[in-house]
């Protein structure tokens, strides 16, 4: 019936897939090829991956640590705030929401610059991992707040709370018994997004990091600039291995949250 349009859109879809997939495959291949310039005929090897590990294990661990702490902080800051915003929809809430979402509109570089100029001279802070953490929290917090808020807005939170109140539960009890458990799909989706984004964050981190505190993507940038292609690729491979499962989980979780929304 709609032969030509369908064919065309299939072609576009396949081309887009190829565009996204081919270089990732190349990179995976390059990461395990003895000499990429000569091709696969030079043999497959894990030596580049091992070299990446010896060179960058610290960066990888730092990134994981940052992601976990970032998650903890965004949970503590974001979940109660999302609740308060969902319960009090109004101008003030909109303004606050808009404000904490600024890091999505202002380029990371500018934010990092702002942080550096204000806090760069606090030696103990500047050289501590928590300085990078602040950047990551700034950037990921809006995702947590939105994910939780979306779920809270979709379940009839007000009535649920009134139900609990009529059974004798005060505000804190309601938060623990009703709000948090029912926001869980949103919290989960938000958490996975936060962890994924934190592990991949570069724009802010590049400015905020110190030589002792290189995160995984900073290391990646380093290796792209100064290491041989095979090492850079092997490092990218390590990154994929970490991020792809997270991405899959993230999409699964937001699809699940989405189902609650509809």
């Amino acid at each position: 019936m709609m032969r030509l349009p369908k064919l065309l859109s299939m072609l576009v879809t396949l081309l887009a897939c190829a565009f996204l997939l081919v270089p990732t495959l190349q990179s995976v291949l390059a990461g395990i090829t003895a000499n990429y310039f000569r091709g696969i005929s030079s043999g497959l090897t894990l030596k580049w991956v091992i070299e990446v590990w010896t060179l960058y294990a610290d960066s990888i661990f730092l990134s994981i640590w940052l992601a976990i702490t970032c998650l903890a902080v965004t949970l503590i800051l974001g979940v109660p705030a999302a609740y308060a915003l969902a319960r009090n929809p109004g101008r003030l809430s909109r303004v606050l929401e808009e404000f904490i979402s600024l890091p999505l509109a202002i380029p990371g570089l500018a934010l990092a610059l702002a942080l550096l100029q204000l806090y760069g001279s606090q030696q103990g802070f500047r050289a501590h991992w928590s300085f990078i953490l602040v950047g990551h929290v700034l950037y990921t917090l809006p995702f947590m707040v939105r994910a939780v808020q979306a779920v809270l807005a979709a379940i009839d939170l007000k009535t649920l709370e009134e139900g609990a109140a009529s059974l004798g539960a005060g505000p804190a009890r309601r938060f623990v018994d009703i709000v948090v458990p029912n926001a869980l799909p949103g919290i989960l989706a938000g958490s996975l997004t936060v962890v994924t984004l934190s592990i991949g964050e570069f724009n802010l981190t590049w400015m905020l990091h110190t030589p002792l505190l290189k995160t995984l993507p900073v290391g990646l940038a380093d290796s792209y600039a100064s290491m041989r292609l095979e090492i850079a690729s092997a490092y990218t491979l390590v990154f994929f291995v970490m991020i792809v499962p997270l991405l899959m989980a993230m999409q699964w979780a937001s699809a699940r949250a989405q189902r609650i929304l509809s």
Binding site: P5, L8, S9, A16, V22, L104, L113, L197, V244
Partner: protein, 272 residues
């Protein structure tokens, strides 16, 4: 809640307090500092005038807007086509295609840059399979491809979410009234997708405006604004101009998002 004005309200305040403190300390104050910093150079506040009078900065802003705009349009075209195709056809391997198309969602800009080098660089596939030397990675086109690379998944997800919500009866209604396929697309599907496309386009645009890692890795000669800011910061440590340019970039991007939001009526957020 109204029934217990005091306790419920104070609990709400308690819930917001940590976030308020954090945002004040690490977002509001630094941004104020950034604005002040822009005036602390040799030019004082007239740094903004100088910014506007320096062709290089204006050219960079224009470049950035152009590349971001082009990427937005291209990503919308590609992702809407693919998104409609994937929502309206169920076939074996569909979810694999979907996974591939959303894979780069969390790739940092540097990785995206590297992907473009692998694709269009000297060792890239394009150079290997085309006769003669076709190295696209280090041109404006390479940068465009890089931005497109990370924009496709963002736009795709938003458009697909909207496409799935379109009532199939709308399309059937149009067909029952005699509309051929292209009219269904034009009269029903695209209008229904419009808010999502505006929202997704705004996200793609904002992300492209702020993208730094990709340009940094590709090291192309294209002076996009984030690269200029970076250079200002590192070249003779011109903090004032770097701050001023950052503010300009932030204001322009935020403004575009704001306009998009008022156009689409919904919530438009940048996807990082």
């Amino acid at each position: 809640m109204k029934e217990t004005p005091v306790t419920a309200r104070s609990f709400g305040v308690l819930c917001l307090l940590p976030l308020l403190i954090f945002s004040l300390a690490f977002l509001a104050l630094p941004l104020v500092r950034l604005v002040l910093s822009s005036s602390e150079g040799a030019d004082g506040w007239s740094v903004y005038i100088r910014m506007l009078q320096t062709p290089r900065y204006l050219a960079a802003l224009l470049q950035t807007l152009l590349v971001s705009g082009a990427v937005t349009v291209a990503a919308l075209a590609v992702s809407t086509t693919a998104g409609l195709f994937l929502t309206r056809n169920r076939f074996w391997g569909r979810s694999a295609l979907l996974s591939i198309l959303t894979l780069p969602l969390a790739f940092p800009g540097v990785v995206v840059g590297f992907m473009i080098i692998l694709l269009g660089g000297r060792q890239g596939l394009v150079n290997q399979i085309t006769p003669g030397h076709v190295v696209i990675a280090y041109s404006t086109f390479g940068l465009f491809l890089g931005y497109l690379y990370f924009s496709i998944p963002r736009v795709l997800l938003t458009v697909m979410a909207a496409a799935e919500k379109i009532d199939p009866a709308l399309e059937e209604a149009a067909r029952s009234l005699g509309a051929p396929a292209y009219r269904v697309l034009w009269d029903v599907l695209l209008p229904a997708l419009r808010p999502a496309m505006v929202a997704a386009g705004a996200i793609a645009f904002a992300t492209a405006m702020g993208a730094f890692g990709t340009a940094f890795t590709l090291a192309t000669d294209i002076d996009v604004l984030p690269m200029v800011i970076y250079t200002e910061f590192t070249l003779s440590a011109n903090f004032a101009m770097a701050s001023a340019l950052s503010i300009a970039l932030g204001v322009v991007t935020w403004g575009v998002l704001l306009i998009a939001r008022s156009l689409s009526g919904g919530t438009v957020a940048a996807g990082g």
